[in-house]
Amino acid sequence: MKRAQDINEHIAWQDMTVGCEIYEPGTSRLTKTGEWRSRTPVWIEEKCKQCLLCAPFCPDASIPCKDGKRSEFDYEHCKGCGICIKVCPFKAIAWEDEVGKEEA
């Protein structure tokens, strides 16, 4: 079965899938939308209470969660929308260019 990773803009028509079908889940992850980002949110782990309110509101599934805890942003895919910054009740996420400024 043909895999998405083997389909690119250089392959011949004979090597395309029939009807442009895809036979595996979540191949979009191969697209690194992190390149779109103009501003970057950063996670300030020491302030984080692990309430996870940020996680469901990330449109890009870029706040990985496991065993009830979040971890570092998936910067390969985070588009830098900043929704997580606003939703965090503990100011544990900030724009990279503003980190520290607030406290100063």
């Binding site: 079965m1 803009e9 392959i11 011949a12 028509w13 004979q14 395309m16 029939v18 009807g19 442009c20 079908e21 895809i22 036979y23 595996e24 889940p25």
Partner: protein, 395 residues
């Protein structure tokens, strides 16, 4: 053993469907194809089939539901005519490009306007670029047989294209004629089970269908689809060969009637071919070498084979039962003339648009076409290439 019956074209199609017992039938009524789902609804009501029969709210939704069902892994069918086919137009192209082998019965009927319920091919010809295979029958027997072959052609892995089984609205769809039906079990064995490799409901892996295709992929996708249509030529002949072996009736891309030594010939489709053949017989009795080519497979168009059978004629009339408004000829003429273009010695060719909206086509009318061809042969003058026939003329 074949069963002798008397059925209309619509009932013949419904009977073929009952024998095949497709998984999903999405219907919407329109004259003259409505009888097909009506017969089928009764089969459902009487427990003769176990199809999911869904009465949707438009032809667009009928074809859309067929796409959903077919992609989900089952056989899906529908039937329509005229405006209903036009309303499906968008999703017909989707069916072709998604390579979903939906089988669609079309009782061909004129397009509006003025609104008219009778036969011509303006509906099905308008969908000639949709990516559907198109099979046409002259009578109820051919329509039935085409339907029995339809799923196997459409579903073949080298093809995977949707397919229209076309009959002439009212003329074939409603006229009751003798027919030889095949046994249910024999039909089921011939058609076989539908076994798609991937489908939405498959447990082992998901399937994603219908992407946005950027320019880097669109061209390749369309070329692949074009090749599938070319592959269909071989598969159509293979299935026809097996059909002949199984049921004894022979089919090709077209029927070449008395074409071996024909000097004048008519290229024609559907029920009108019967009339043309009678005219050819009468002219043959008078010593004129007349022949008829009846196109059965319009998509894929058998260009090379058609050129081969016409190449020794001196004059050919292409009979278009559809007005293409190109101001230079109908769709069948354009295709036939295109097929002849690389012959070293081409016959003279004319196009005659006839029979629109159910206008009669008589043996005398067919003979007059041959007479025009004879005149062209005699004088060497083609005269007007694109004309209409059967209309009342004033000045």
């Amino acid at each position: 053993m074949s069963i002798r019956e008397r059925l209309s074209g619509n009932e013949a199609i419904a009977t073929a469907m009952r024998q095949i017992n497709p998984d999903v039938f999405a219907m919407f009524p329109i004259t003259p194809s409505t009888e097909i789902p009506q017969y089928y609804a009764q089969y459902v009501a009487d427990g003769k089939v176990d199809t999911e029969f869904i009465c949707v709210e438009s032809e667009h939704s009928a074809m859309s539901a067929c796409l959903g069902a077919e992609a989900a892994g089952v056989r899906a069918v529908t039937a329509t005519s005229s405006a209903g086919l036009s309303y499906m137009n968008e999703v017909l192209y989707v069916a072709g490009s998604l390579r979903l082998p939906v089988v669609l019965a079309v009782s061909c009927r004129a397009l509006t306007g003025p609104i008219n319920i009778n036969h011509d091919y303006s509906d099905s010809f308008a969908e000639r670029d949709s990516g559907f295979i198109q099979l046409y029958g002259e009578n109820n027997q051919e329509v039935y047989d085409n339907y029995l072959m339809a799923h196997r052609i459409a579903e073949h892995p080298d093809v995977r294209l949707p397919l229209m089984v076309c009959e002439d609205g009212f003329i074939t769809s409603h006229a009751i004629e003798n027919i030889e039906l095949e046994e249910d079990a024999a039909v089921k064995a011939f058609v076989g089970e539908y076994k798609p490799e991937n489908y939405l409901l498959k447990e082992e892996n998901p399937l994603a269908v219908g992407p946005y295709g950027v320019s880097a992929y669109y061209m390749e996708a369309r070329v692949a689809q074009a090749h599938a249509m070319m592959n269909a030529k071989r598969v159509i002949l293979d299935v026809a060969a097996d059909f002949e072996k199984t049921f004894g009736r022979k089919y090709g891309f077209f029927e070449a009637y008395k074409m071996d030594d024909a000097e004048v010939a008519m290229v024609i489709m559907g029920s009108s071919a019967g009339t043309a053949k009678v005219a050819a017989d009468e002219l043959r009795a008078a010593g004129i070498k007349a022949g008829v080519v009846k196109i059965r497979v319009f998509r894929p168009f058998p260009g090379e084979e058609l050129a081969e059978v016409l190449k020794n004629c001196k004059a050919v009339a292409v009979m278009d039962k559809s007005e293409g408004f190109s101001a230079c000829g109908g769709p069948l003429f354009a295709e036939t003339a295109g097929a002849m273009i690389n012959l070293d010695n081409r016959p003279k060719m004319i196009d005659i648009v006839f029979g629109l909206g159910g206008r009669d086509f008589t043996v005398n009318a067919a003979k007059s076409v041959f007479e025009r061809l004879i005149d062209i042969v005699k004088t060497g003058e083609t005269g007007p290439v694109y004309t209409h026939m059967g209309q009342r003329e004033g000045r």
